[in-house]
Symmetry: C2
Subunit: 119 residues, 2 copies
């Protein structure tokens, strides 16, 4: 039996933005980043490892973050990511984009039975 359909597909291309935002608080490693996002979203967002690490690597490729090896709070080897100046700019770009998207979609989704319930 084959599972042909994805279960979640819930991030909708916003993972990069979420990661950058999380790093505003300071450097963090992958595990922590995922947990922070999940907790702050009240467990609505689920960050899969297979999504997270590729995201971190491409953020670094693009220069939005830099990384270094360190030791985690649990005394384990971990790669920490730090927001760069370019990443900070990118975050505002993506946040603005997201805001305008939400607004635009909201405009389309609002019920247009206004005619019936007009003030």
């Amino acid at each position: 039996m084959v599972k042909s359909k994805k279960e979640q597909e819930l991030l909708l291309g916003t993972l990069d933005m979420l990661v950058l935002q999380t790093l505003v608080l300071g450097p963090a490693h992958g595990h922590t980043i995922a947990h922070v996002i999940e907790q702050r979203s009240d467990e609505v967002l689920q960050i899969e490892q297979g999504s997270l690490y590729p995201a971190l690597h491409r953020l670094e490729d693009r220069g939005w973050v830099s990384s270094y090896w360190g030791v985690s709070e649990n005394n384990r080897k971990a790669r920490f990511y730090r927001l760069t100046a370019a990443g900070r700019k990118q975050l505002t770009v993506e946040a603005n984009r997201w805001q305008s998207m939400v607004k635009a979609i909201g405009s389309v989704m609002q019920n247009v039975t206004r005619t019936a319930e007009q003030k």
Copy 2:
């Protein structure tokens, strides 16, 4: 010269929902659907033909809409799409999902400088 990066990628997987919502107003053909979404979003959303028609076809495959050939307002042959009962249900599912997504991402994106201060 090759354009290696996509220009927009602005729909973020919400096109199906937008199309279904548009059809709540009544049957419509592809061109109209695209224009309605673009206008209602104040031209923020851009619906490419290469995104729209595949979307309409998959909505039909899944039973969310049904289609028939007719004649457009401009006297041209056009395929009209109508929302099915299943499509109406699907719309509420996707709309709820979208709402919870917006809320969850909002929770992550809000500034948390408060936490940094209380040290």
